[in-house]
Every structure is written in C-alpha cells, then in structure tokens.
C-alpha cells in the first residue's frame, strides 16, 4: 500500500533545509494589498516554484482585486482530480501587516518557523507543492490528477473565488477539494474540518427625533428602547433564536458527527475559558455539551451596540440614532437569503417595522458528509502519517467559501497547531508539523486514489 508514501517521505525529509530556505523566500514578501509589488512577487514566486515541481502553471488575470490567481495542474494515473485551495496573501482580518521596509522578518529557531503569514497560509501552500514534487520525483507520476488554485485576495471579502469559478469553470472542475488549514489541537492531535458555518451580518438601525431632545420629554419615543426590545425579541436567555422558522433547515448532526465533536468536547475546558477570561460557557454547559452547542447550534451575536451617550459623566438626552450590529451564524443547511427574509418578517410582526435592517455581509454554511470517500481517505492517511486518528470537525466554527464548491467534498488539513498565534506578532509553525503536513498530502492523495478506484 505504501508504495508511494515511503519514498516520497524520504524525499521530503532529505530536502527539509532547502524547503525551509524556499519558504523563507516566500515568507519575506509582505503580500498584502498595501504592498502590491509584494503581491505580484509572491504570485510569481509561487508560480515558478510550482513549475519547478513539475506542474503546468498559469497566472490568471484579470481578477477583481487586480492580483493574479495562481493556477497549476498535473494529470495523474486516475481520471479523478483533487483541487488544492490556498491563498498567497497574508491574512489580515484582525491585525494589519507592517513590513520592515519591503521585507517581513523570518526567524527559524527551536524547531519553529516564525513569520507573519507562515501559518495562514504560506507554510501550508508550499507543503502541498513539495508533496506533489516528492511524488513526481520518486514515483514518476501522480496517482490522480491535481489542481492548485491560490488566490491573492485584495480584501477579506474579495470575490476572487467567485470570479474564478464563473470565468474558468473548466479549470475549477474537480472531484474533491483539499482546503487550506487544519491544525493540531491542544493535545497535538491532527484535525481536519469538513465544512464551515455561514453567517448573516446585519445592522439594525433606529432613528428618533430629528434633533436630540432632552430626556425630560418622557413622552417622546426612544429608539434605544425600540432597539433593546427588538434585540430581546430575537433571542432570549435560553440562547434559542425566536425568529419563526429559523431552525427549519438545520441539518441535525448524525451520530457520527456528534461522536467526533464529543472527542473535541472532551478536550474543551478551563484552558480556553482562562485564555478569554470567561468564567463559563453559555447556559453553564461544559465539555461535550458546550462543544455540541458550539459546532452544531446556529447562533445570534450582538457584535456591537451604540446609541446616545455612554461616555464619562451624564448626558440627559434621548438618543436620535441607535444601531446594533448583529451576526447570525448559520449551520448547514440554512440559507442566508431565507434567514434574512425571516428576520425582517419577524421584526415587522413584532412591531419593529420602523427599524431599518441593513445586511452588510453573508455567506452560506457547508458540511461534507462524514461518510464521503475523501473523509475516509483522510482518516486512513492520518493514521499512517501521524500514527493516531484524525480528529474530525464536521464543521469549522468560522466562515469560508467552501459552499461554493458544493456538492464536492472538502477536507481542510494543514501544517499549523493550536499555538500558532495566527495574525499575531509571534505567528509561527513547527518544522516537524510542516514535514508531517507535506507527508499527509502524499498519503491523502494515495488513499483517495484507491478510494476512487474501488
């Protein structure tokens, strides 16, 4: 069975110094939209590295953000094709990237590779190229076809993927998708995510008098009260969302789904609470119950609320403009447009027709079936590479555009770990994890080719 993995693993091991030198070149480029030169340089670097690995490469332009989409492919023995999804821009959702001149620092010490962007997602990107190169150099061919698509997003909600899928459907065609990221958890167990949550993010706005009126005019309506009552009508203290029909399209987790999240739940505890400084999970849940709630329950979060005066001292005025930012996080198979319609109808029915609901963003959730051949292949591959079972997460807790590839299965595996400090100054990966991640790709392709053949 391991005709492919063993020699490829040796190839990867023997070249580690070189791969890390290469990764350093890639990682020194501050590839964020604020440094357009570095974005183009990163795309070019990645394309050349893929060519060197033996892939047919194209830099696709134009794109919505102006930076090339790096596309590469190589046929294999089987007609099945796996697509790798990655990006060469550096994630900057919470903290901006600041370069020293036009170079980002790279530090390799204590078996770790420090660099802003190495965990999300450059380390993962290169591990896959090296894995495919190792297979080609040692076996002379691939067991199945591979495609690489790596985006250079200009902003978090860049529609580069949407553009790629509509403009190049023939390039996007594949049987399965291997998504970016999949970290080792707090107990150093490899994890893989099979899906993502979706969300609807909206702002609820209320307006009162044209000019702020003194609060002594107790007869005047107060939009801050309306906002409070409207929000309280959306969800109560039981965390149950009160919008009619909200749960209609939720896919209940299967026994298999619950079992794997229970594994995660057994590791969920005080460490996480302490890190955030929170005494308890909602509803006093712990362990498995908290994990099930977290992964499978859609949720409604007030992300921000503002109105009137909340600064030092007192100001006696009725607020004129009030607003709340509300995030409704969806699970498979809720549909954003359906939830938007139901939320608006809920507000109207409860007497809040005068509150404005402005949808700022939304994406759909997606979940790959636990019994998909791709998932089984990943589980077997993990046993071979890590010597321990893959901890499967039926869905990630965040959003991603995985649903764009539906109904193709997606599995996310990667090279980072729970302590990678993503988007923080100490962002890093461990070299050993990177090497295992590259071997995992080899094993996964080998196993999936066999699944596909049977």
């Amino acid at each position: 069975v391991s005709a492919i993995l063993a020699p490829a693993a040796s190839y990867i091991r023997a070249g580690m110094d070189q791969w890390m030198r290469e990764l350093a070149e890639f990682c020194r480029l501050p590839s964020v939209a604020e440094y357009p030169g570095a974005m183009h340089a990163a795309a070019g670097w990645l394309g050349r590295r893929m060519t060197a690995a033996g892939l047919d490469v194209r830099l696709l332009l134009p794109t919505p953000g102006g930076f090339p989409t790096v596309y590469a492919e190589r046929r294999g023995r089987s007609s099945k094709t796996v697509l790798f999804y990655n990006h060469y821009d550096i994630a900057a959702y919470t903290n901006p990237v600041s370069a020293d001149g036009d170079t980002l620092p790279v530090g390799i010490r204590d078996g770790r590779f420090y660099n802003r962007g190495v965990a999300d997602d450059k380390g993962c990107s290169l591990s896959r190229v090296v894995a495919v190169e190792a297979m080609l150099r040692t076996a002379g061919e691939l067991p199945l076809g591979v495609k690489f698509v790596s985006f250079g997003k200009a902003k978090p909600n860049d529609d580069a993927l949407e553009h790629f899928l509509t403009q190049h459907p023939e390039l996007a065609a594949c049987d399965a998708v291997i998504w970016e990221t999949g970290m080792k958890d707090e107990r150093d167990r490899p994890t893989a995510s099979l899906g993502a949550k979706g969300y609807v993010y909206f702002e609820l706005r209320g307006r009162g008098a044209r000019v702020a009126q003194p609060s002594r005019f107790t007869i005047l309506p107060n939009p801050a009260w309306d906002l409070i009552w409207a929000l309280a009508s959306l969800k109560d203290g039981s965390e149950r969302i009160l919008i009619d029909g909200f749960y209609d399209e939720v896919t209940p987790p299967t026994a298999e789904d619950l079992a794997v999240v229970d594994v995660f739940g057994d590791a969920l505890g005080d460490a996480m609470l302490e890190r955030v400084g929170v005494p308890a999970f909602v509803l006093g849940k712990t362990g498995r119950a908290a994990a099930r709630h977290w992964f499978f329950e859609p949720s409604c979060t007030v992300c921000g609320i503002t109105g009137g005066y909340a600064g030092p001292g007192e100001r006696l005025a009725i607020p004129t403009d009030v607003a709340a930012k509300v995030e409704v996080r969806l699970v498979a198979a809720q549909r954003p447009d359906d939830i938007i319609t139901k939320a608006r109808a809920h507000l109207d029915r409860h007497g809040f027709g005068h509150l404005e609901m402005v949808v700022l963003s939304h994406t759909a959730p997606y979940r790959t079936s636990m019994s998909d051949p791709l998932v089984r292949a990943a589980q077997r591959a993990a046993l071979r590479v890590y010597g321990q079972p893959l901890v499967i997460r039926p869905t990630s807790i965040g959003m991603s555009p995985k649903y764009r590839f539906a109904p193709r299965p997606t599995v996310g595996v990667g090279v980072e770990y729970a302590g990678s400090c993503m988007e923080e100054p100490d962002e890093h990966i461990r070299l050993a994890d990177w090497e295992e991640g590259a071997r995992m790709i080899v094993a996964l392709l080998e196993e999936y080719a066999q699944e596909a053949a049977t």
């Binding site: 003194p214 609320i305 109105g307």
Partner: protein, 274 residues
C-alpha cells in the same frame, strides 16, 4: 405655566463585563456582555412603558380631585407643535391630545440615554463584546424616593438572573412639589391673572430636574416656578429661543407677585420642611 415643583431623577449605569476584552464571535459558546445588557434592560420595561422593577412606583402621589381640578383638567391637548418640532411619528403608548400632557405631568418614566459595547464603527467586525453598558434614567414624580431605587434595581436584576450586571448611581435628585392650594401657589396664580388676563396653567412639577428639594431639606419655604419660555422654545437644541413679548410679560409677572407678596404668611425659615 406655573410649576409647583420638579421631577426627581435617578441616573444609573448598568454595566456587564463577561471577558477580558472583546473576542472573536466564532466562539459562540461563550457569553456575550451585550446580550446580558440587552436582556437586563429589556427586563426593566416593556413597550407598554410600565416599569417592572418592584417598588418603582412606591410613593407616587395619587391624583386627588383637587389636583385634577387644579392641574390636569386645564392641560392643553394640542400636541401638534411638539410633534412637528421633534419629527417623531408617535408618542409613547400612542398617546395623543391631552393624554400626552397628563402623562408628562403624572407618570414617572424610565428612559434610556445611552448604549455602548463591542464594535460600532463602519462596516462589520466579527467580535463578541466583553463588556457593555446602558445609561438608564428614572424621571421621578413626588414622592418617589431615589435613595430607595438603586436597591430596588439590584433586587430586580438579581431576581431575573442578572447578578453579573452592576448598577452604578451617577446622579440622584428627589422630586419636589407643593400643593396647589398653598398661599404661594395662589398668589403666583393671582399675579399671573393680573398680567396675562387669563387663568394660568398650573402643573404639579416641571418636567426637568432641579434643586428645589434642597430648600425643602433645609427650610420650610414653599417654591413655585415660572419663566419666560414657551412651548416652542426648543430647549437645549441649536434653535433654543424665547419670544420678546413673553420676556416682557415675565418681568411684569414678577412685579405683580412682589406687589401682592405682603399678604403672604411668614414662614419660619429656620425650621426644616417635612
């Protein structure tokens, strides 16, 4: 309009802190300070405007037949100017006409002056607020006692499971009012008739807060109030103004009061009031 007192006030901040700081909203199994504040504030009052804090209405003077005759029967029912000036679509509880003024001059109210928590800048940010607050203002009528209310709020919040929501008093002023048949009230009203040629509108208290209660605390002197503004004065807005004719009349009202003041009984100003 002659005011025989003023409303009282209790201005409190309700605050909740659930985490060190805001954290990513993907951690949906962790508590949210903004929801705690939303639910806590919503528990205080519903759209019926009835305050649900037990003990809140303690001490509210019932409307006596004398008060009905002196105050409420004479209130104006024309609220179109207020509606136009503020641009509001309706008044609370959909009140209209004289009921608007009756509400203003008889009901204590729970206002909400400020809300804050989490991300409120442009666009969207996926955070769960670690802390949030609300500024709640009670407008009190005689003889509600603002000193008793913080305890009432505390007990209410605890009873509803909001022991994580703190109550901090930022300001506290008791209400004050004299009876319409006190000699001072009668004198000011008579003087107004001299000047304006019509019966003045007597209200039990001004809608704003004031310091009259301090005089009551330290002396027995009764207090009545009147001024030179009018219903359209647009107080505390950039258009705040008075009419010159009202100003002139206001001065003459003072003169008329002083002319009649010899008839007032002397008050022992060393004795504390009730």
């Amino acid at each position: 309009v002659i005011t025989l007192g003023h409303k009282g006030q209790l201005y409190v901040e309700l605050a909740c802190r659930t985490a060190h700081a805001d954290f990513p909203s993907r951690m949906t199994a962790l508590p949210n300070a903004a929801w705690r504040i939303v639910w806590a504030v919503a528990s205080l009052k519903g759209p019926d405007e009835r305050v649900r804090v037990p003990g809140f209405y303690d001490g509210v003077r019932p409307i006596t037949p004398e008060a009905e005759r002196a105050f409420y029967s004479t209130l104006s029912g024309d609220v179109s100017a207020l509606r136009t000036r503020t641009g509001v679509r309706a008044f609370v509880k959909n009140l209209d006409g004289q009921a608007v003024m009756r509400y203003t001059y008889s009901e204590p109210a729970l206002g909400l002056c400020g809300l804050g928590g989490g991300y409120t800048g442009p666009g969207h940010k996926l955070v769960t607020p670690g802390e949030a607050c609300a500024r709640v203002e009670c407008r009190l009528v005689p003889d509600q006692d603002p000193e008793r209310l913080p305890g009432a709020f505390r007990a209410h919040l605890d009873a509803h499971g909001f022991d994580d929501v703190t109550v901090e008093v930022l300001a506290s002023n008791p209400p004050y009012s004299i009876e319409p048949d006190t000699p001072l009230a009668r004198l000011v009203a008579d003087a107004a008739r001299d000047v304006y040629g019509v019966d003045p509108v007597m209200v039990p208290f001004a809608t704003g807060i004031g310091s009259r209660y301090l005089f009551r605390r330290h002396t027995a002197m009764p207090i009545a109030g009147f001024a030179v503004g009018y219903a359209g004065s647009a107080l505390e807005t950039s258009d705040e103004h008075i009419r010159v004719r009202d100003y002139d009349e206001g001065i003459r009202h003072i003169v008329a009061i002083l002319a009649r003041a010899q008839g007032l009984p002397r008050v022992d100003d060393r004795g504390a009031g009730p």
